[in-house]
């Protein structure tokens, strides 16, 4: 019997699961290898679990989703989170530093109709996750590599080194050294193909923290480029800002900035 795969969506933009559809020809081959029994974006017939592989896109932001993810875990042999929302809380985790009541009132005239949590959290804070695929969006090739590994019973391996290494390999001119442009490349996981530097701009951290990164040295580098205070905090607190190394560095900078202001 073909393995049963499912794609689940939580709070997200649909972009990561769209990478399955972007795989196009590969998708049709994939369909020969695995039966996608639940994929709301792509098919209208949803089949019950259990599932061999569940791909989860999106972060947990509502009480209902906090319950639903438990069911998904229960029904799934492997649970793979895909994308910055599922692995890091996503851009919507910016609420984690704010007053959620005020946030909701700013958008909705009748906030009492809504049910939302005060935080946006990665799936791994709620259930055991077997493998994480990073990126905003995830890279199609990385996604397919993970699917192939899982279908052949191997543990997937994705690189954890920094964007800087990728830039060197590609022979990109360093945007920081050559143009003084602030760039998150030294502390960001590879996977995008060093896209932003290739487009003559600094990396803004779509793939989240690299496996090894020296945040202290990095914030010093930012400061040397004149990126300090709230500006530096904003750069760390973006799409992957809630992941531990960046969260801690951002919070430390924030505390420092506030202290300087009160002096």
């Amino acid at each position: 019997m073909k393995p049963r795969a499912a794609v689940f969506k939580f709070a997200s933009c649909d972009g990561c699961q769209l990478q399955f559809l972007n795989a196009q020809e590969e998708l049709l081959k994939l369909a020969e290898l695995a039966d996608f029994v639940f994929f709301a974006e792509a098919r209208s017939r949803a089949l019950e679990g259990p599932y061999d592989i569940a791909f989860v896109e999106g972060s947990i932001t509502t009480p209902e989703d906090a319950r639903r993810i438990l069911d998904v875990r229960e029904e799934s042999r492997y649970l793979v989170t895909i994308g910055a929302c599922a692995t890091a809380g996503g851009i919507q985790a910016l609420r984690n530093w704010s007053d959620i009541g005020e946030y909701v009132r700013a958008v909705y005239p009748s906030p009492e109709f809504l049910s939302t949590l005060s935080t946006s959290t990665p799936v791994s804070e709620h259930v055991r996750v077997d493998f994480e695929v990073h990126g905003c969006p995830v890279d199609k090739e990385q996604l397919l590599a993970v699917v192939r590994s899982l279908l052949s019973g191997a543990r997937p391996v994705l690189p954890g080194h920094s964007v800087c290494m990728e830039c060197k390999r590609r022979g990109n001119v360093c945007v920081t050294v050559a143009r003084g442009e602030p760039c998150l490349g030294p502390v960001t996981r590879t996977g995008c193909g060093a896209l932003c530097p290739s487009f003559h701009r600094g990396c803004y951290g779509c793939f989240g923290p690299a496996d090894d990164q020296n945040m202290q040295s990095f914030t010093q580098l930012l400061a040397a480029q004149g990126v300090t205070g709230a500006d530096a905090v904003r750069r760390l607190r973006a799409i992957n800002g809630y992941v531990k190394p960046w969260r801690e560095a951002g919070d430390a900078l924030d505390a420092e900035t506030k202290q300087n202001h009160s002096r």
Binding site: E41, R43, I91, Q92, E102, F113, L195, C196, H200
Partner: protein, 434 residues
């Protein structure tokens, strides 16, 4: 539920499939009349307009792109246009042309996705594109080729098709050299034939013939088919500057949806998207597309929401031809982007996302930090119109089984290619009796 009395009944579709996002539909009938009809959007609120406050305005294109993985270019374009208006920036004419090319790419990939992967299975009795690929591989392959060409354009200008990285306030961070675009020509020339075939294919679907009282709204430009610029026009007489958007339309919240409902002040529901654009700008489509449109045998303009899929196919052909035209005339700009100084102010802009008009408004402080942001996506504008269509559909589904009724409602909703992630996800159908 055969034992249930048909005249008093609840139809509930709990998870609407093959749309981008999550929603449910709840219909309650009393004596065969609709007592209550609610399109429930339960996409968790992501509160973009709140967390944008305090961010640098220059971050808006990258941040708002994350609202939607299907139409990130639209979010980038509405935000850069609003912010350029705010900061007094005029982009280079070549940059303007590149932005139009960028948008052509997104229209092509988004429309091809909707037609082949989301909508066509409905009309051909399949539950997914994978099933359809078994039945009509040629059509699916054609759709994939079209989509690939659209993605190729977006990737050429922005590095990747989902959340591309090149667009910025003032222009692009990097612009292509002429030969990098000329490379795309051959692919587009092939896809032009595919697009023409796609129009014939979809116009042969069994589309219900209905005519409804609909107010269509889109941009209109003095000499182009609208994408990045133009005035707001409607089929009921609106002709106004973009800045008048908030005077003309209002949003209100309904308890059953995390997307706000929009309406024309003093009138009600309206319709944005490909059919609205084709209806209001048919004379801007150019002779080839107009002739392909006439060959479908469908009258244009028309008030039949079911012809949306054909309008979408016409726009693919238009966008392919327009992309070719832009590439042929392209000269790289002197600089990829115009530099500017941030300042305090407020401004708005509307551009035509694949699914319809997308409104962004920003207010900034003297340091160029965002003080307030307002975003009105196309699906939220179409919500009230979708509910109106469903009300008209109900009498015809009363005798149907739950499965048939669900399918009929989903197909009607899919006419609007709703992108619920934008609004803030899609269908649970529940029809409830008293």
């Amino acid at each position: 539920m055969p034992s249930m009395p048909r005249r008093n009944r609840t139809i509930r579709v709990d998870y609407l499939k093959r749309v981008e996002g999550e929603a449910a539909l709840h219909i309650r009938l009393r004596d065969g009349e609709v007592a209550e009809l609610r399109l429930e959007i339960f996409e968790p609120p992501r509160l973009f307009e709140s967390f944008l406050r305090g961010r640098a305005a220059t971050e808006a294109p990258d941040l708002t792109a994350r609202i939607c993985g299907i139409c990130p270019v639209a979010y980038q374009m509405s935000s850069v246009h609003a912010l350029e208006r705010l900061f007094g920036v005029t982009a280079d004419p070549s940059v303007r042309a590149l932005r139009r090319l960028y948008y052509c790419g997104e229209w092509i990939e988004s429309h091809a996705l909707h037609i082949h992967m989301l909508a066509a299975p409905d009309f051909l009795g399949c539950d997914s594109v994978i099933t359809l690929a078994g039945k009509d591989p040629k059509a699916v392959e054609r759709g994939l080729r079209i989509r690939k060409a659209g993605n190729a354009i977006v990737s050429r200008l922005g590095g990747r098709s989902i959340h591309p990285v090149g667009a910025c306030v003032g222009g692009f961070t990097r612009v292509p050299k002429r030969h990098e675009l000329v490379d795309l020509r051959e692919q587009l020339l092939h896809v032009r034939d595919d697009a023409a075939e796609c129009i014939r294919w979809v116009s042969g679907f069994d589309l219900p013939a209905v005519s409804r009282d609909i107010e269509f709204v889109s941009l209109r430009h003095p000499d182009e088919y609208p994408m990045n610029e133009g005035r707001i026009v409607s089929s009921k007489g609106i002709d106004a500057a973009q800045q008048d958007f908030e005077n003309l339309f209002e949003e209100h919240q309904v308890p059953w949806s995390t997307a706000l409902h929009a309406r024309v002040k003093g009138r009600g529901a309206y319709f944005v998207g490909p059919l609205a654009r084709v209806n209001l700008n048919f004379d801007r489509l150019g002779p080839d597309v107009a002739s392909a449109a006439h060959d479908t045998g469908i009258p244009w303009p028309n008030s039949n929401p079911w012809t949306s899929i054909v309008a979408r196919a016409l726009e693919i052909l238009y966008a392919v031809e327009e992309a070719l035209r832009i590439i042929d005339l392209y000269e790289a700009p002197a600089a990829p982007a115009v530099s500017f100084a941030p300042r305090a102010g407020s401004a708005c802009a509307i551009t035509e996302a694949p699914r319809g008009s997308l409104y962004h408004a920003y207010e900034t402080d003297a340091n160029g930090l965002i003080v307030s942001a307002r975003i009105v996506p196309p699906t939220s504008q179409n919500q009230a119109r979708i509910e109106a269509d469903l009300r008209e559909l109900v009498p015809s589904i009363l005798q149907q089984t739950q499965a048939e009724a669900t399918r009929a409602c989903e197909v009607a909703i899919r006419n609007y290619d709703p992108c619920i992630s934008c609004s803030t996800h899609f269908l649970r159908l529940k029809i409830e009796g008293q």
